[in-house]
Amino acid sequence: MSELEASTTAGPRRRARSAVARSSAADRSLAVLLGVVLLVGGSLVALLAYGAFGSGRATRPLLDPLVVDSLRAQPVLSRVVAILAGVLLVALGLAWAARSLRPERQPDLVLAADADTTIVVDGNAAADAVAGQAAALPGVARARARMVGHREAPALRITVWLTDEADVVEVLLLLDEDVVAGARAALDPQPLPVAVRLELAAAGSRSGPRVV
């Protein structure tokens, strides 16, 4: 199941959980894969050099004439294999780099997509509106919001920076009752999983009056 399909059919809890931060699963998997290849390859070479596969092998030269000759015997095949391997590496490497460098998607919210009516709310607009509401709460020094996910399964990520004197319980309550509920009511019927991240503002900051 592709990532897209998986997240679309996933339940709301799962979508909310994965909205907390950008997924690093691909990077991690590829790093582990590459690491295993290097680890195993390096270990095997070291073992061979230390004579684990027979002292005869260890005395052979690195550029073994047997190997070189067998490659020479099949020039076309070995070249084609080498070229294919190279192309594969290029494709894999570029795909990995591109995926890793791509900024996280900010989907728009589609509220209606019938034959005669389409309603789309710009993702940035929705996120800014939510962030504005969150930042006005007592105990919140700063707030940022962002639409994450993709068009078929959007989610909302809200980050709030709490002041020193903030009452965490109260902030969470207000966030849920005012900000999140407001967003869900305004953007109905789009189901909107929400991930809230709590941070602490630098010591000494206060939630002053908002300057418009």
Binding site: S24, A31, V45, L62
Partner: protein
Amino acid sequence: MRVLLRILAPVLGLGLAAVGAVLVAEVVAAWVWSAGPGLLVPWSAWRAAVEDIRWREPAVPLAALAVAVLGLLLVLLGLLARRNDIVLIGRGVDTTVTTSPRVLARLVGRRVRAADAVAAASITATARKVHVRAQGRDRAGPGLRETVHVEVDGVLDELSLARRPRVTVTVQESRTVSELASSPFNTAASANAGDERSEEFT
């Protein structure tokens, strides 16, 4: 860890692509123009240098071990660069509230230091454990540990964490509060008060 991986990932990707590109270029060049010094990379010079080396020579296993260690580091990076969020119980099934160990440590520290009996405190927090080193003022005595426990439990109750960390409290009598060092692979965060409170009264 996650930051390191984020930076490293495109670098590794581009590195792999570069290796592949050089391979393709060199093989094609050698094929088309046969036997030449090498298009992008002086591979025939390298080959001449490598030709006489045997597997057994010390340089080979050393280089191989270096590569293996690099691979091991990459594997560890991949396995350890996980998010270490602390999950709070959110209202509703489609709302998740999380915070970081650092924030938890600061919240606990704020509450502990606000207690009268506490002169200074140092907190280390992870999703599983909260460790408080508290220094009492004026020889507060055995009740100090109890007091700190109560304060910490209060914070944890309020936050309604999905998984309640184990709380350990150590009390010290000495004037200096040493900073807890975090071990390299520990996802702990520590918030150190220093001697802020004791300064108020001197």
